[in-house]
Amino acid sequence: SQQGEEDPQALSIQEGENATMNCSYKTSINNLQWYRQNSGRGLVHLILIRSNEREKHSGRLRVTLDTSKKSSSLLITASRAADTASYFCAALEGAGSYQLTFGKGTKLSVIP
């Protein structure tokens, strides 16, 4: 079963604009992670936010977590054509868990 569900499924923006992707999950989590996948490649870890954190930044990435709503969002600022990829959230369930459960992903297209 899939823990995370991303929204929207696909997003197309102009270079320079911001891109926001949302993720909802079902059970309590230890942490939530975001990954990026270029076509035909493996996933690359972007950022991790723990259940006791509300916001985290890494370069042009900003992640928020609302545990009361069981949701997270990933914001990419000043997007570039090279940001074109699929983005997945992955939830790590409670204490002692090791199984990351991925959503279906958001396919982001950044138009030059």
Binding site: G42, L43, V44, R50, Y98, L100, F102, K104
Partner: protein
């Protein structure tokens, strides 16, 4: 440094045949995962190794699927009597695992694309 390596990158096999997919994790990573990804979907968990033992194989779809990691490093995913529905990209990932798993990002290989004809 070297990342997670998966071989072969592509595998085409006939229905009913046996296949083996190999994963070389990052040196020093004790945790190893296999995931399966179908087109347009996110990765689906198959099995998790901590060291040599399969700590959780609950994601394996049926007894045609089996995975080993005999020396705690390289892992092989084995699929018997392949079916067309097994066609997917099989991803391997590794991480620094601890006895109490905590917040360790996964490092993925580029996957093996399996096509069963």
């Amino acid at each position: 440094g070297a990342g997670v390596s998966q071989t072969p990158s592509n595998k085409v096999t006939e229905k009913g045949k046996y296949v083996e997919l190999r994963c070389d994790p990052i040196s020093g990573h004790t945790a190893l995962y296999w995931y399966r990804q179908s087109l347009g979907q996110g990765p689906e968990f198959l099995i998790y190794f901590q060291g040599t033992g399969a700590a959780d194989d609950s994601g394996l779809p049926n007894d045609r699927f089996f995975a080993v990691r005999p020396e705690g490093s390289v892992s092989t995913l084995k699929i018997q009597r392949t079916e067309r529905g097994d066609s997917a990209v099989y991803l391997c990932a590794s991480s620094f695992g601890t006895g109490f798993f905590e917040a360790s990002p996964l490092h993925f290989g580029n996957g093996t694309r399996l096509t069963v004809t």
